[in-house]
Every structure is written in structure tokens, then in C-alpha cells.
Symmetry: C2
Subunit: 271 residues, 2 copies
DNA sequence: CTTGACTCTCCAGTAGCTGGAGACTCCATA
DNA sequence: TATGGAGTCTCCAGCTACTGGAGAGTCAAG
């Protein structure tokens, strides 16, 4: 019979961990002195402890290990659990590796630029949205602003409140300033499928804008400098080896008269 | 000004996380109603939030992010931090990958055997130990037991108590049952460097048995079946792509008269 | 009997939230 | 004006596998 300190030296597991295993019932001492509370172990417990350490090393939680040891699982059942773990772990490794890649591309970016960009790009999972939308070919960029106002002018009186900021989608495969295939989308509840014509005579369509992973950044300045944001996004996509998977979106997060100036969120679906 | 729920919808960060960021001062709301406690946010905070998310995505802790944002670190300083992170993360990835490899080799082992082995093998970091030791060529395996007893018979009367169970080292490059180059080692405090001759006339040497990573398993049965343990260790080493890096050790963890039978720990230095 | 090494229990802390309890607040409708 | 429902508040516990510390008790040797 060893006291906890001696046993700890033999099995090379810290005393605090042995006490913890004893507390959670994973490796109770073979005897406990009822008056002093001293825990007593013996060499015969080493196989169990070794099993614990081996399974822990495979990434199982102490809970799982406890049920494996106490239900005396068959090899087949253990194999099943390990298969699950294996899948989970290879996903985790891939994710970690992706994160490491992001750090590396970020470092390359910093080193090539010498300074930090004003834009932070983040990958987000965006939900699909029910929208009412207007789509047309705009002859110049400023035309988009009038379309947005026109749309609101139809929705508000009809009692339709967008459930999120309105945004535009740019459907052109390439950018031509005098021929912009733009769609203005107003997120609405799923049961709103129609709206009256706009004052300027435009008609709303109803559809679901698909969700998915998107690279997102914030442009906090006038619309005339928005190409900087697109530039930063483009660089980021390239550095991370991602490509566009749909039309870019621009969400207008401020009221037109906001004293802080306009703020636009740009989203590019990826992969 | 948005309430927390609206802001959460816009930035796609859970309300609970926003509250947490507000609590730790990382992203305080732009205003808080003193009577109701309601937090109010505005679109102008999105760039900061995006920076937070981007840095978090690179693996920085919220603490680190806070000091980066509030001390307005230069690109060079950020680069330094990221370099550190990068090193740390690639170590973590390698470790995870190694763990995944262990799971895979374990699965292969289970599948090839169809049942679980009685031996669990664990990699441990073993400390170097000061020992007094006897070394000689044993003409048969049972000779080792008499050597151990002979050593104790010299140490005990001299007042030298081993600080850990005694163990043997097998120096032969290959095993021959009638010619075993064995060393019996008794761990002692660093200031004990000599001991009297044994009753049978053997002389102790003093040395440091080097530590390092070792594959460890427990054999809980008579010495005549110890080759099973070595077999399991050999398979494990092969499955994990490791080789021996020194003489195997056997530590005798039970007294000769233990009612539970003898328990032996076998350690093989690796890599 | 003292000393020093060892052990005990209990609690807080770790990172970044999440979820719940119980109490308010806000807004729109009846 | 009352009410209902959705949203919000604060505080606290929980997650993992321990670690470290406080304060008290135990054991063996001198």
C-alpha cells in the first residue's frame, strides 16, 4: 500500500490529478483511512491507470473513459468510439491547419504592405433571407441610391418593415460604371411575398437570397472610396486561396442622414 | 442606435457574446440607459467588432486583442505577436496530428487483432535518476532475482533506502537466455555515491540513468510471461513508427511476497 | 515533544462564452 | 389605460481537467 505521494512517483501522475481521479470515481484508492482521510493505493491499480492514460492520450474525455472501463466495452464498441473520435479529430486538425494558414497569409500581407490595412475581413456564416427585391440595369452608380429610396417609399406606406438592413446585389460578371445589373433587396418575414409598385413604377420580386460562408468587411466612408474595400477583399481572398461563389452584396447600415457618415457592409460569398 | 438584439442580427454575433464583450470592456456599448441598463450600439462600432473577430480568428485571446486595440499597436508589433502565435500553433497542429496518428494506429491494431490487448502502452517523460547499480552477465533469467536480493542485503544494513522501486536494465543488443548483460539499479538521493560490497561480494557502481521519453507498460503476472508485454510494446513501437533509444528497463513494483502477485513496469526509451 | 514532510478538504481560477432564473422595460394593440 | 409578448437586464452556474493555495490535521524520526 502506497500513500498518494509515493504512488504519484511510481506512476508519474501528479498528486492533484490522482486526487481528482479519486474524486470523480475514475480511480478510487484501494483504501481510505476513515479517520485521517489518507488515500492508499497499490501497484495492482497501475493497469487501470495505464488504460486511463492511454485512452486519454487518444483524446477521449474522462467521462468517456469512465464508461469504457466500467462497462467493459468490447473491442468493437471501442472501435466505434475511436472511429467517431478520429473523424472529429481530423476535422479539428484541418480547422487548426486552416487557422494557421490564415495567420501565415496575414503575416505575408503585413510584410508585403509594411502597414496594417484599414479593413478587417472576417469569414461569417450568413443565413438565407426572404427578400422583396427590385432589379434593373443602372446607368450610373448614383442611380442605386434613388432605387433604394424608391423601394422604401413603396414599402413603408404598405406597412412592410424590413427585418434587417436593406442590401444590394451586383450581378455583373464584371464592373461597368454605365451598365450595372443591380438588385436591391429588402429582408422581410417569410409570409410577406408581395408589395405594391413603387412610386416610380418599379415592381417587387420575391425570392430567397441564399446564405452560406461569406467574406465580410465594413466600409466606413463615402461610396466613392468603396473600391478600397473591394481591393482589400480581393487581396484577402487571394491570400486565403478562396474564390467568389455568387454576387457580392452591400448592406447599408446607416440612415442616409447619419451624422457619423455612411457605413456599408460588403459581403462576398466564397467557395 | 441599435438595441443589443438588432445589433446582434446585423453583426451576426450572439447577444450573449456581445454582453460578454461589454462586460470585459472589449466592446462597450456606445451608450447605456442608466435607468433600464439597456445597451445601445451603433453601426460605427462594427469596424472595431470586425477587428476583434478577425484577430480572434487568428487565435489571439480576448485579452491580447484588447491590448492590441487599445494600445493601437504598430504593424511591426502585431507581426511579432503573430509570429509567436504561429510558432505556438504549428506546434499545436503537429501535436494534434500526432494524436490523430495514434488513434489511427490504435484502430489498425484493434482491427488486425480482433480483440483488445491486455497491455496499454503509454508514452511518459521519465526523469533521470541517481542510482547505485550492480552489473554482470547472468547465466539464466532467475539469476536476476538473486542479484536483486543480494543488493538489498547490502543497502538496508548500511541505512540506504532506495527512493523509488529498484529496476533492471538489459544491455544486450539481442536476447540470449544464458548470457544476459543485466544491471540492477537502486535509485538513491544524489549525495549517496557509495555502498559496501554485497554479501555475495558484488560491488556497486554509481551513475545517472538518463531520462527521456519512454514507452511504458505494466505486466501483472509471473515473470515467465513477460515476453507478452515485450511483444505488445514491440507492436506498439512499430505501429507508432518509433524505435528503441536505449536499454529496456524493468521496474519491480511489488514486494516478493505480495499476495496480488508480482507487478513489473517495463520501460523502453524511444526516439 | 518538536520538527518537517506529507496529506486532507474546500475553494477559486483557468477561456469564452452559454443557458437559466427572476425581474424589468418597451411597444403595440384592445 | 390595461395587457400581453418580446426583448432586455443582472447574476450565477456550468463547461474541461485539472492546478494552486489556505488552513488544518497526520505521520515518522530525532
Amino acid at each position: 500500500m502506497y500513500r498518494i505521494g509515493e504512488f504519484s512517483k511510481i506512476c508519474r501522475v501528479p498528486v492533484s490529478a490522482l486526487r481528482y481521479y479519486s474524486d470523480i470515481g475514475l480511480l478510487p484508492p484501494v483504501a481510505t483511512d476513515p479517520s485521517s482521510g489518507y488515500r492508499y493505493y497499490e501497484a495492482g491499480q497501475l493497469p487501470r491507470l495505464n488504460r486511463i492514460l492511454a485512452l486519454k492520450d487518444l483524446g477521449l474525455s474522462l467521462d468517456e473513459i469512465g464508461s469504457i472501463l466500467d462497462n467493459d466495452l468490447s473491442a468493437a464498441e471501442l472501435r466505434g468510439m475511436l472511429r467517431l473520435k478520429q473523424a472529429e479529430m481530423s476535422r479539428a486538425v484541418a480547422e487548426q491547419q486552416a487557422q494557421l494558414d490564415r495567420v501565415e497569409s496575414r503575416l505575408r500581407l503585413i510584410e508585403s504592405e509594411g502597414e496594417m490595412s484599414d479593413y478587417e475581413i472576417v469569414l461569417k456564416e450568413i443565413d438565407a433571407q426572404h427578400v422583396l427585391s427590385l432589379r434593373e440595369i443602372a446607368p450610373e452608380p448614383s442611380h442605386v441610391g434613388t432605387m433604394i429610396g424608391d423601394g422604401f417609399a413603396a414599402l413603408m406606406p404598405a406597412g412592410i418593415m424590413p427585418t434587417a438592413p436593406c442590401f444590394s446585389l451586383y450581378h455583373d460578371p464584371e464592373f461597368k460604371p454605365d451598365h450595372i445589373d443591380v438588385e436591391i433587396a429588402y429582408p422581410v418575414p417569410a409570409d410577406v411575398t408581395t408589395a405594391p409598385q413603387t412610386p416610380a413604377g418599379r415592381s417587387f420580386g420575391h425570392r430567397i437570397v441564399p446564405g452560406g460562408k461569406m467574406a465580410v468587411t465594413i466600409h466606413q466612408a463615402g461610396y466613392d472610396t468603396i473600391d478600397q474595400a473591394y481591393g482589400a477583399l480581393g487581396k484577402w481572398l487571394e491570400a486565403n486561396g478562396l474564390g467568389m461563389a455568387g454576387p457580392p452584396q452591400e448592406a447599408y447600415l446607416t440612415a442616409p442622414d447619419d451624422p457619423g457618415g455612411p457605413i456599408t457592409e460588403i459581403r462576398i460569398p466564397v467557395e
